[in-house]
Structures are given as structure tokens and as C-alpha cells.
Symmetry: C2
Subunit: 121 residues, 2 copies
């Protein structure tokens, strides 16, 4: 039978900010997006090399979720996982503005508490 797939997310309200946080409101999802903006494409094992050291179970989970939401995809949709990197979809690329705003805010406002913070590229 045709399966009516539930949304991968529980939406807490109709507010777009709340809805954005329902998806991206954790410490890891936007770092995956950041890496893809920085490097263009990225293989599974490469994500683990970023300085924040995401663990593989969380990584697998988030890659699945971001794929289900249409934010990232495999570079070659038809090939197996091995040597098949991830890249941003159109929707994922549009997150650049969000990341820039967040990065700028952090650099401007957290330097007192976090002196080593660097400016965004």
C-alpha cells in the first residue's frame, strides 16, 4: 500500500522561527551545513575531521534528517554511499544568510567571553 510518510519533524507551532528551530535548533546540524558551504562537497568521514569533533552516530542521524528535509543530498544520487560525497541543495545553499548573520553576531558580541573567536571569512 502507499505509505503516507509522516513529516520527519514535529512542528511546535506555525511560527517560522520556531519551525526553523524545530529542524536546525541543535548544536550540530548547522555545522554540517557550514562545512558544505566551506568545502562545496564533503564525504562522511571528512565531517568528523572538523574541530568540533562530531561523533559518528550523531553525524549519521543528522545527515539522514537533513537529506529527508531536502537540505543536503548525495552528489551522485544513483551511486552507493562509498566515495559519494554530500552537497547542499538549493534550499541548503540559502542557509548561507542565516550562518553569516549568526557568525557576525557571535564575532561582534562574544569576543569578551571567548577571546579566541575568529572573524567569519
Amino acid at each position: 500500500m502507499a505509505s503516507k510518510k509522516a513529516s520527519p519533524v514535529e512542528w511546535r507551532s506555525e511560527c517560522p522561527i520556531s519551525s526553523g528551530l524545530d529542524i536546525l535548533g541543535d548544536k550540530w546540524s548547522l555545522l554540517i551545513v557550514r562545512d558544505l558551504i566551506t568545502y562545496g562537497t564533503r564525504m562522511y568521514s571528512e565531517f568528523s575531521e572538523s574541530p568540533e569533533r562530531i561523533s559518528t552516530n550523531i553525524l549519521a542521524d543528522r545527515l539522514k534528517l537533513l537529506t529527508a528535509l531536502g537540505i543536503i543530498e548525495r552528489v551522485d544520487a544513483d551511486r552507493s554511499a562509498r566515495n559519494n560525497a554530500f552537497q547542499l541543495t538549493k534550499s541548503g545553499k540559502e542557509l548561507r544568510k542565516v550562518l553569516e548573520a549568526l557568525g557576525r553576531w557571535s564575532y561582534a558580541n562574544m569576543r569578551d567571553l571567548h577571546p579566541d573567536i575568529v572573524s567569519i571569512d
Copy 2:
């Protein structure tokens, strides 16, 4: 003795995006900021009335953290907690750009998965 207060946050790296997520990377902190942008000031119990229904223990925790980080403050710094609302600091107000970027992204990109989502004001 003079206490050397540790930073309220563990910074995972020097990256400003990662650092922003160290502080704000959860499902609730930015909703508190959203409410303060919307209403200007807000009392403790009023936060619980927003449609996402934050529970009081999480609320107390986040208000403490956001205060320690200088993102929010009491309207009257000298008065007791009762009837003493919260408001954004200068640094908190600058988060408006982040929220706008996030809200716009969600509205533009999540409408398929979340048909009831509304546009940001």
C-alpha cells in the same frame, strides 16, 4: 576570596558559527529572544504562554544563561524578581538579523513540509 568565574559555556572551537551554536544552539533560547523582540519586555510567566509551551525549569535555566551571557537583563536591575520583566540588551537586540534570516528561510523552504507555516511579520 575572589572567585574566578568560569565562562558559562564550553566553546568547541574558535569558529564564530560554532560558538554561536554553543550558546543558542537549542530549541528554546532563540524563542525567548523572539518573544522579547515581539513584545519588548516580558515577565517570567508570560513566556510560558507562547504557543510552543516552554516548561518552567527549562525557562528558568535559559533565562539564567542568557542573562549571564549579557543577551537579556531585568528591566529594573535593582528590584526583586517579582513583577520585574526581562528585556533584550544591545547584544540581544542584534540577534534580530539572525532571527529574520532564519524566519525567512523557513517560510521560503519549509512550506511543503509544513503547510501551516506563516510568514514573518
